[in-house]
């Protein structure tokens, strides 16, 4: 019996997992609030009470992307200063503290840099690459993580933190994660048409009726436009042709019942009758 127990014990020891597989920690994984050695000296708790969100920024010394990420986080830190958010930079426990402190100083971050002694936190969160930012909620549980990105790193981390703070909703977060295209001026034919209408209005003010008409017609070539019909109506009215103007105002109001020039012009022509 003792021999059997011994065998079972050995088998159990052999089966003890000692290291997670490659995947990052799943959302909901709770991080223990351990006290770690600070690169600047002394020891600090990883998490602070009353913080609604924590960003753990895992970085490596002598690595350009870590420096770049920390610089981005410095901007984030500044943007969220005074809020219930804690930023902590975490380096491997093997990192010389002076090098870790120098990295933080070069990046201009105010956050503490903590050394993960024995790399237990690395292991808990499955951190294998640098840089990576883990976002924790008020309970210290993983809400999400963001691997390095050269574009919009701070924007994305900031939005995730603001989401945890309850400042923005999911739709607003999604708009940061997938921002709408920043179209070029003139991509939309309606915008180009509006330019012609606006120029036509200026020409109308200057009593350049033919040029104003030409501008309105150019606008109509680009896109159907209530503004262009209203402009043509105003040109007709200015030339004393209210019946024609009224027809054009009606065309404008069919496209946009709230077109202000058409409404005003129709009223003026009606009053003039």
């Amino acid at each position: 019996m003792p021999r059997l127990l011994q065998k079972l014990l050995l088998a159990a020891l052999a089966l003890v997992p000692f290291g997670a597989t490659h995947a990052h920690a799943e959302p909901g994984t709770v991080v223990a609030n351990v006290e770690l050695k600070a690169a600047a000296g002394g020891r600090q708790r990883l998490l602070l009470p009353r913080m609604k969100a924590t960003a753990l920024v895992f970085v490596r010394v002598k690595q350009e992307r870590s420096l770049d990420a920390l610089k981005a986080m410095a901007t984030c830190e500044q943007a969220l200063a005074g809020q219930a958010v804690r930023f902590v930079a975490v380096v491997s426990g093997e990192t010389p503290p002076a090098e870790a402190a120098a990295l933080a100083s070069e990046a201009g971050v105010k956050m503490p840099v903590l050394l993960d002694e024995g790399d237990a936190l690395y292991e808990r969160l499955g951190v294998r690459n640098h840089p990576v930012v883990f976002l924790l909620d008020a309970r210290g549980a993983v809400a999400s993580f963001e691997q390095y990105r050269q574009i919009d790193y701070c924007e994305v981390v900031k939005a995730r933190l603001r989401f945890l703070l309850g400042e923005i909703d999911q739709a607003a977060l999604d708009r940061v994660l997938a921002p709408p295209a920043g179209t070029m001026p003139g991509d939309d034919a309606r915008d180009v048409s509006t330019r012609d209408v606006n120029l036509g209005r200026r020409l109308l003010e200057l009593k350049k009726y033919d040029l104003a008409t030409r501008s309105a017609n150019k606008a109509l070539e680009k896109a159907p436009s209530a503004g262009a019909f209203a402009l043509l109506g105003d040109v007709a009215a200015a030339r004393g042709d209210c019946p024609k103007a009224l027809q054009l105002y009606e065309q404008a109001l069919k496209l946009d019942p709230a077109e202000k020039h058409a409404l005003a012009g129709r009223q003026a022509c009606a009053a003039a009758r």
């Binding site: 052999a14 003890v16 597989t21 350009e64 294998r128 919009d152 921002p179 120029l199």
Partner: protein, 360 residues
């Protein structure tokens, strides 16, 4: 776990041990010199005889008082409002454009920093050729373009800088019109594209649709995490070294690209229980694979953009001039994984216990 190359692969690999020339990493961020290059210096109409190709509609009307105090070509006087206010009175869409998060300082300052409001030899009434204009301030980009041995056509063809950047304002950093990936895929989504070295380029739309395990930078839509999009000195515009040939001896320096994020210890230490899941007991199988002169490198087993299998493990390795694919036959197991006969006999590894799976 003893690894033996199959005779097929041995024949293939040995003549191909051509190392890519180690290339230096280019800096991630480039310098921008805020030069007062123009600041309204060239707003007058071009002189007679200039090769005018584009003319502004208000200028074409011949009535200076549309914008100026007087309708007198010889002495029109100042414009009646600020420059941008004047422009926006017709170009209404700029109210929305300039409300975007990221704004270009010269555009905020005055439209005439870049545009001639009368006429121009350039499209969009630009005061000069676009790349020259942009790089007059963006010195770092100019240096990249000047020193590039691998060039990106996107910078110099079509809309040039505006292929990717909105020089007024944008919703993405660096004034990008969209996230990098969305921009890149606008072009890199067709078959038949060929790189400057004559090699076919990937149709990323098709590739990513077919391979669902995406590398993190791809997931983040951040192609620029690995590619120097303006031009560079590395194969495929990569930000740092990566072998241009499939079979090349392993050297940490030639994989600087990977080690920009990944820890190079993942291959340099023979024993580990933490650095990688690709271990048999504590025996680091990355180390085992690369520390042989057979060209088994990161690239030999991993796909960089996307794969069908976990850990970005590629389906197979290319073989022969017709690009046959010899399957790697990786299988994920509850206690690790196995690779079936191709490069070597079927091998299984166990990363859950101290006990090795070898010999298998």
């Amino acid at each position: 776990m003893i690894l033996r190359l199959s005779s097929t692969i041995r024949l293939l690999v040995v003549p191909c041990l051509l190392a890519a020339a180690p290339a230096l990493a280019a800096p991630l961020k480039t310098e921008v010199r805020k030069l007062a290059t123009r600041r309204g210096a060239q707003v007058a109409p071009l002189p007679p005889g200039a090769n005018v190709k584009w003319s502004h509609a208000p200028y074409e009307t011949g009535d200076c008082s549309i914008c100026h105090e007087r309708n007198d070509r010889a002495n029109p006087g100042p414009i009646t409002t600020s420059v941008n206010e004047n422009c926006y009175s017709c170009h209404e869409e700029f109210q929305a454009i300039m409300a975007r998060k990221f704004k270009h300082v010269p555009a905020v300052e005055t439209c005439t920093n870049c545009h001639n409001p009368h006429n121009s030899t350039e499209r969009k009434l630009l005061v000069g050729e676009m790349v020259s204009m942009c790089t007059a301030c963006h010195k770092g980009i100019k240096a990249q373009l000047d020193n590039a041995t691998v060039r990106h056509d996107a910078v110099t063809t079509g809309e040039k800088c505006s292929n990717c950047h909105n020089p007024h304002a944008a919703n993405v950093e660096k004034l990008l019109i969209q996230l990098p990936f969305d921009l890149c895929v606008n072009c890199h989504s067709k078959d038949g594209m060929v790189a400057s070295d004559g090699k076919p380029m990937t149709n990323f739309k098709a590739w990513l649709a077919d391979n669902k395990v995406w590398h993190e930078p791809v997931k983040a839509k951040d192609c620029s995490a690995c590619h120097r999009t303006h031009g560079g000195t590395n194969f495929r515009l990569l930000v740092s070294a990566y072998p241009s040939t499939f079979y090349a001896p392993y050297d940490t320096k030639t994989y600087a690209l990977c080690y920009g994020c990944h820890n190079d210890k993942v291959v340099s230490v023979p024993e580990t229980t933490t650095l990688t899941g690709f271990r048999d007991g504590s025996r680091n199988l990355h180390y085992v694979h690369v520390h042989q002169e057979r060209g088994r490198t990161c690239r030999a087993c991993h796909e960089v953009h996307a794969s069908k299998q976990d850990h970005h493990i590629r389906d197979g390795v290319p073989y022969g001039p017709k690009g046959w694919l010899l399957k790697i036959n990786y299988t994920k197991l509850p206690t690790g994984g196995s690779c079936a006969k191709t490069c070597h006999e079927t091998k299984t590894y166990n990363n859950k216990t101290l006990t090795s799976s070898a010999p298998k």
